[in-house]
Amino acid sequence: MDLQAIRADFPILADERYVYFDNAATSQRPRQVLEAIDNFYRTTNANPLRGLYEWSIGATEAYEKARSRVARFLNAERDEEIIFTRNATESLNLVAYTWAMANVNEGDEIVISIMEHHSNILPWQMVAKKKGAVLKFLEYDEKFNFSDEELKKITDKTKLVAMTYVSNVLGVTNPVKKVAELAHKVGAVMVVDGAQSTPHKKVDVQDLDADFYAFSGHKMLGPMGIGALYGKRELLDAMPPFLTGGEMIETVTREGATYAELPHKFEAGTVNAGDAVGLAAAIDYLEDIGFDFIVNQENRLSKLCLEAMRDLPYITLYGPLETGRHSGIVTFNIEGCHPHDVSSVLDSEHICIRAGHHCAQPLLQYIGVNATARASMYFYNTDEEVERFVESLKKVRGWLGFE
């Protein structure tokens, strides 16, 4: 695979002054995605699912084709198991407000991990508070694994387990398949936060046996404002709707309504067909490149970056020693320097990295730091960019007045 040819697909990467290493926050988009969205609005735009004329039917078809594409991508059994949402956050909230509010009761337990993004913590805190349930955290050991002992926190009282497949701070991949098995043994449902895994690895929701799987399009070359929730059909069927209004009903009378079939029951209001089409194009692009290439390239870059940073005595790295466990995510601190200052001075070199708590404050408290810097690479990043980044890192302490 020719990396320069890949980069040429991304208009924003043409400006070589910039090194974009904040891919875990949001990726860049190739022209194929931009063109698919543009083409939708230029040629097929009408309100999907409503009109009885050609354009509206075309918009509906484009939208449903995108759903089908997502279903195939995640290996869902059926198309209607894919609910389009705005992002992973909305997908997780959907599960919390519908399934969890209906099924979690006083004294029940919800188990999540300590490395969750706030999006996979706050919805469960809300359910636990409203329902009088207990929220428990699984803590990882010094090798970034969850011990069998720790996993015993999943008990007969557990109704729901939620875990991120890939951590947005440590980069590690969690054993969600094994955890799903443990959850199912005690009759709990398994919610997988796929925001960071979907961009980086082939996902098979049936193999994982996830009951729910949430992700965002914008972290995997798709547009902002579109994401999806996968849910097993039996569960989705039995759940009350999340939002109510147009397009999610069968009939409405003055007294009440009966709801539409899946997936429309969960897609109230005019849907985001243009971005769904963009997401489908992003999936096409990723599969054309192939996850073998993506994983290889990310691991190569992680190795190059981590090994160079390990030689710098004033740098603390967070996350596993094994360079193949990072999914392109390198989280670090520079002795004496606040990550905000690090990010600001790197910005003046046109190097884009993230600094702060990465929406994972309980994890940072567990690690014992207030904030960190994070460089996150994707398959279109290059060795030269890693080298530029490392060379600039070496100067940061000097710029901040240390000598």
Binding site: H338, H340, G401
Partner: protein, 143 residues
């Protein structure tokens, strides 16, 4: 001014060798300010005499160089002012940040005027103003 120059000429010195980073023995007021976007906090301590004059002040807490330097500079200039003068001084600083202060007013800010460029960086304005907002809350709450 280029960012690295701002650090070199203003921020680094106050960050690495802050004059007012310590705890007061008998503070009249203590207030913690938190920057919600990063979780950084600054703890401002003030000692007022019976005439409302700030006889001593200090700061502590974890933060970036910009917020630490900004705290140090503010406190340095606010000691010795009475409440009204201090509030006026803070208001002028905020006006500079919002781009509505006149050149004369900016000059009256003395060393704090040097923070103008950082305060205008969208990503760092909150770091630069955290201590000022916190001090303002203390002085207003006292009225």
């Amino acid at each position: 001014m280029d960012l690295k120059q701002i650090y070199r000429e203003i921020v680094n010195e106050h960050n690495l060798h802050p004059e007012h980073k310590r705890d007061l023995a008998n503070p009249t007021y203590v207030l913690q300010g938190v920057n919600p976007t990063c979780g950084d906090d600054v703890n401002i301590q003030v000692e007022l005499d019976e005439n409302g004059v700030i006889t001593d002040a200090s700061f502590s807490g974890a933060g970036c160089a910009v917020s630490q330097a900004s705290s140090d500079i503010m406190i340095d200039q606010i000691i010795g002012k009475n409440k009204e003068e201090a509030l006026q001084f803070i208001e002028t600083f905020m006006e500079m940040v919002h781009g509505t202060a006149s050149e004369e007013e900016i000059e009256s800010l003395d060393e704090a005027a040097a923070l103008s460029d950082v305060a205008h960086m969208p990503a760092r304005a909150k770091c630069a103003t955290l201590a000022w907002h916190t001090m303002e809350k203390i002085l207003k709450g006292e009225e």
